[in-house]
Symmetry: none
Subunit: 247 residues, 2 copies
DNA sequence: AAGTTTTGTGATATAAATATAACTATAAAA
DNA sequence: TTTTATAGTTATATTTATATCACAAAACTT
């Protein structure tokens, strides 16, 4: 395995089913001096990864034949290569981290090329440090995520996916929970419907913008005393919605 | 170059049947300044261990010819060397600790190289301290595990592999027990089917996700009064399952 | 106040997730 | 070996979540 270790030019495997996205990535990474290989589906990705042993993998979650999460697992199973997952929505991040399949990093679509290149470099650097440095580095198994969000009368338990309003448990669906979580994680901050569609529904989603309204309404039915005079999930006309901390 | 003094180069025996995994371990441990030897099956592992007397052994559980647990036992029988077991699922840890065959540490696949290297160092350091102090060497399997889990009406006896519901003993199969145990060890925490498959079935398992549902249903038939309205093992739709403590 | 834009709402069709039963395979016991 | 227990798979039923749309209501404009 010394051939890769000796040469300085790093090879990056790009896995995405959309040609235009691959093109953008190839162009920019080449410009940065990296070598690139491509795969458009999961099965091919695994094959190439194991055969070519790239130094880093950019891996979309949504893939034909075999999804990104499985690809990640299988590749990591065979050898340790930094894998950056490309996700379309915030909710998928939990999946990546929760499953602990060994992804090293993730980036949410749509991403800026600059940011992506930065991440690529960071992850390549990390593995370099990891293998050269003789320090004992604490395993990140202690990665403790925030498990509760409290805003005013609202209490979100991220472990249980449970919501309490004034101490009372209310049953939200996952979609409702995610919308509320997104809003509650930045109280008082008005969020547009477009942002919600992108962050909760995923940027590949081209549905009706009214979908957000309807979901908001359903949330209100469950958390507001008087849905016609919301005190928690507030409409900012012509802009979007926000969570009021009630002060 | 500086290795000329040959003062203290430690030798590590790597036992795994998968070449790629051995490769990555060899590469990383060499980088750290260790000497490595390899074995791909249990019988060879014992032979090499006894003949070469490595300073530490990395030992996979799943091995051809002779499984890792037996290898561990035989080697420890002849001389005291730190052994780190590599396991694919959480349940196997119990085996390692429960059987008290003298393994010093374990690490669950898929592991990060960083973590593994850290463990190697820690275990080598430990034996150094022990021999310098000329203390009696005792296997560190003194990690006593929780022998009982009680959540609401549920009582798991981890030694007896026995489950009681409201004081009544119910007979679970091993698989059912492990699922219940995994959930009960973190009550109120929603666990995805994927996590269960990885932690209970093992990360190498690629079977149908519905298998979890069916196992959950069988557990419910045994522990719930009314399977159509579970009070203990609860479904969190779109996410997974969790154990309710009933409060 | 009338017009215009924006948001809310109920109904409904569709899609997705889950439960369940029946079947098959595998392993352990007799 | 045959029998029995356990585990996994598959197909289908059932339940629940979600999107969409048409219209109503409300909020801003002039």
């Amino acid at each position: 395995m010394e051939e890769e270790l000796m040469k300085d030019v790093k090879t990056i495997l790009i896995v995405d089913d959309e040609q235009p996205i691959r093109d953008i990535l190839v162009y920019n990474l080449k410009k940065e001096g990296y070598n690139t290989i491509e795969a458009s589906d999961g099965v091919t990705a695994v094959d190439i990864a194991l055969e070519k042993r790239p130094d880093l993998i950019l891996l979309d979650i949504m893939l034909p034949k075999l999804d990104g999460l499985s690809v990640c697992k299988r590749v990591k199973n065979s050898y340790n290569v930094p894998i950056i997952m490309l996700t379309a929505k915030d909710g998928e991040i939990d999946k990546i981290l929760g499953l602990e399949l060994g992804a090293d990093d993730y980036i949410t679509k749509p991403f800026s090329v600059r940011e992506l290149v930065a991440r690529v470099k960071a992850n390549l650097r990390k593995i370099e440090v990891e293998t050269n440095n003789s320090q004992v580095i604490r395993p990140d198994a202690t990665k403790k995520k925030e498990s509760k969000i409290v805003v005013g009368d609202l209490e979100l338990d991220l472990d249980k996916f449970e919501v309490k309003v004034r101490g009372e448990v209310v049953e939200l669906t996952l979609r409702e929970f995610e919308v509320l979580k997104f809003l509650a994680s930045q109280p008082e901050q008005v969020v547009t419907r477009e942002t919600l569609l992108e962050k909760v529904w995923g940027y590949e989603y081209y549905g009706d913008i009214r979908t957000v309204d309807v979901t908001v309404r359903r949330i209100r039915e469950k958390i507001e005393k008087d849905t016609s005079a919301p005190k928690i999930l507030i409409t900012k006309r012509s802009v979007g919605y926000y969570i009021s901390s009630g002060k």
